[in-house]
Amino acid sequence: MRTFFLILFLVLLLAFGRGDNTAAGWPLHFGFGRIATTKEIAALNISIRPDGKGLPAGSGTVREGRAIYLMKCAACHGSTGVEGPQARLVAPMGDTTRAKAIGNYWPYATTLFDYTRRAMPYNAPGSLSAGEVYSLTAFLLYANKIIDSEKVINAASLPQVVMPAKKFFVTDDRRGGPEIR
C-alpha cells in the first residue's frame, strides 16, 4: 500500500510537478534570474508618476531655484530660459514663439522634476539633490507663469499644479487602413 502511494506520488509529481513541461514543452518558469530585494529596487526606482507617486521628501522655492538656475543651468538655457543656446525652457501660454517650452507645451508638472533629476545638468546628470530639483521646478514653473513666486513645491503640491497645455493632448488615433490621419 505504501509503495502504491509512493508510485502515485511520483507519477503525480512527474505530471504536475514544479517546473514541469506544458504541452508545448515550455515550462511555467525557467527559474533564471534572482529575486530582487526591496532595497535594490528602491535604489534603482526613480520613476515618478503624474499623481506624484515616487516623488521624494524635500521641498523647494522659486527664490532658491533662481539662484541654482543661474549657477547650473543658465549657461545652456540662457539667463531667463529663452536665450539658449540649448532648448528654450520659458514660453508662457500665449507667447508668440513657435518653440515648444514648458509653459506652452509640457502637459505634466511632475515630468519637470523627473527629467531634471534624471538628466540635468547635461554635464553632471544625477548630481542635483531633491531639494535643488524641487527649487528648479518651482523657478521654471514660475518663469512660465504657472505658479506665483511664493509657492512652495514639494511631493504634495507638485502633482496639483495644472499645466496649461494639458488640455491639448490627445491619444494617437491613427489605425492603419486607407484613411490618412
Partner: protein, 401 residues
C-alpha cells in the same frame, strides 16, 4: 656584398610589403594600395577581423544628436551594423556586460534581476525588422541624398528573448496596463509602453546581425519594439516597471508628440506608417539615357508591405514595382522597377501600400489631415526625384509652412 644582400632583401621585402602595402588617403586613413595586376603577386594572408575594400567608403552622416544611414550606398535589406543610424540623448554609455543587470518590478509577482547570462539562457528568437526614428523627414533643398532625407531608418537581424517570456517569468499582474522602460545612459532615458506590446512581439535583444549589439545600438541589451518609433526601443535597458498608467516622461510629452489640427497635440503615436523612398537614382547621380533600374526601400510598422508603386511620369500613372523576397513583417523590403529613360524631363516617385490598405500619402494629404502647423514627427510623404534633360537627378523639396 652589402649591396647584394640589400638587393635580395629589397626584392623579398618588396614582394611581402607590396601584399600589405599601405598608402595614406587624403582623409588620413591607411589603406591597401591597389596593385597593377593582382594575379602577379600574392595577397595578404587571412586575418582575425575583416575590413571593407579600401575602395568602399559608406559612412553615416553625424550631427550632434544623431547619425544617418547611407541608404543610397547599401545593397539588400540589412544595414551593416556599423552603418545603423544613431540617435541618443546623452551619448553612448560604456557598460561592462559582466556588471549588466535588468530589473523587472512593479506590478509583478516576482520582482527579478536578470544578468546578461540569464537573458541568454532563455529560449532565443531572431527577427529581421527595421528601427526608424519618428523624426525622420528632412526637406528644403534639391541637393539632398536619401540619407539626408530619411537616413534615420535601418534594419538588422536582432536576436534575444521575447519580453512575453520574461513577463511570464516574473508573473505580470493582469491589471498592469503600461510599463516603463529605462535606459542606463546619462539621460536615464525612459518611455511608457502599453503592456499589450510586451505580450505581442516586444523583445529584449542582445544580438545584431550575428554579433553582440553595437554600443551605439544599446550594448549589451536593448528593448526592441518592432514597427514602433525608434525612441521606444529603449537602449542600454536597465529597468522595466509594470504599472497601471503611463508615467508621462519627457520623451512622451515634450518630445515625440506632434501638433495636429485644431491646436491638438497627438501623444503615444507609436506605429510607423508605411513609407518608401527611391534610393537610386537619387541626387547626386548623373543619369545616362537607356535602361535604368529604379531601386528603393519600403517599410511599414503595421505589418507587411503589400505593394510598392512607381511613377515615372510625375505621378500621372503608377505601376507596381517588383518586391524582393522575403517580404517580412515590419521590415524594410527592397523594390525595383525597370525603366527605359529616353531623356525626357520628368519626376520619379514611389509609394508604399501595406497590408492594412494604407497608401503612403503625399505631403499635401498629410497637411490636409493634420493642418499646416503639423509637427515634425511621423512624416512619411511620397518623395519625388526630378530628372533633368541633362541627366541630373535632384530632390524635389516641398515645403508646407
Amino acid at each position: 656584398m652589402n649591396k647584394k644582400i640589400s638587393r635580395r632583401k629589397l626584392l623579398w621585402g618588396a614582394a611581402t610589403a607590396a601584399s600589405v602595402a599601405l598608402i595614406r588617403t587624403v582623409t588620413g586613413q591607411s589603406i591597401h594600395a591597389a596593385v597593377p595586376d593582382p594575379t602577379k603577386m600574392p595577397g595578404p594572408l587571412p586575418g582575425p577581423v575583416g575590413k571593407r575594400s579600401p575602395f568602399e567608403h559608406p559612412v553615416r552622416k553625424p550631427s550632434d544628436i544623431s547619425s544617418r544611414s547611407p541608404l543610397q550606398d547599401l545593397y539588400g535589406m540589412i544595414t551593416p551594423s556599423d552603418l545603423h543610424f544613431e540617435r541618443h540623448h546623452a551619448g553612448i554609455p560604456a557598460i561592462d556586460p559582466h556588471q549588466y543587470e535588468l530589473l523587472i518590478h512593479g506590478m509583478v509577482d516576482r520582482p527579478t534581476v536578470f544578468t546578461l547570462a540569464d537573458l541568454r539562457r532563455f529560449p532565443a528568437l531572431s527577427r529581421i525588422c527595421f528601427i526608424e526614428c519618428s523624426g525622420n523627414f528632412r526637406t528644403g533643398k534639391e541637393t539632398m541624398t536619401p540619407q539626408d532625407i530619411c537616413g534615420l531608418t535601418s534594419q538588422s537581424e536582432w536576436t534575444g528573448v521575447l519580453l512575453s517570456t520574461l513577463f511570464r517569468e516574473v508573473g505580470v499582474h493582469p491589471k498592469a496596463t503600461w510599463f516603463l522602460a529605462e535606459g542606463s545612459d546619462a539621460a536615464v532615458m525612459t518611455r511608457s509602453i502599453p503592456v499589450s506590446k510586451g505580450w505581442d512581439d516586444a523583445m529584449i535583444v542582445y544580438g545584431q546581425n550575428g554579433e553582440a549589439i553595437r554600443p551605439e545600438q544599446g550594448y549589451p541589451a536593448r528593448l526592441l519594439l518592432p514597427g514602433w518609433e525608434g525612441n521606444t526601443s529603449v537602449k542600454w535597458i536597465r529597468r522595466i516597471e509594470l504599472s497601471d498608467q503611463p508615467f508621462m516622461t519627457r520623451e512622451e510629452t515634450s518630445k515625440y508628440t506632434e501638433p495636429i489640427k485644431d491646436g491638438k497635440i497627438r501623444q503615444f503615436s507609436f506605429e510607423i506608417d508605411a513609407r518608401s523612398i527611391i534610393t537610386f537614382p537619387a541626387w547626386p547621380v548623373q543619369l545616362e539615357k537607356g535602361w535604368i533600374e529604379i531601386r528603393g526601400l519600403a517599410w511599414s510598422g503595421r505589418g507587411k508591405i503589400k505593394r510598392v508603386e512607381v511613377s515615372v511620369d510625375t505621378g500621372k500613372t503608377w505601376l507596381p514595382a517588383r518586391l524582393q523576397e522575403p517580404v517580412l513583417d515590419k521590415a524594410h523590403v527592397c523594390f525595383r522597377y525597370l525603366w527605359n529613360w529616353r531623356g525626357e524631363e520628368t519626376e520619379i516617385l514611389s509609394r508604399a501600400i501595406d497590408e492594412t490598405g494604407y497608401i503612403q500619402p503625399t505631403l499635401g494629404q498629410l497637411v490636409k489631415a493634420r493642418g499646416v502647423d503639423m509637427g515634425g514627427y511621423h512624416l512619411n510623404p511620397v518623395t519625388a526625384w526630378r530628372i533633368r534633360r541633362d541627366g541630373a537627378v535632384l530632390f524635389k523639396p516641398e515645403n508646407w509652412k
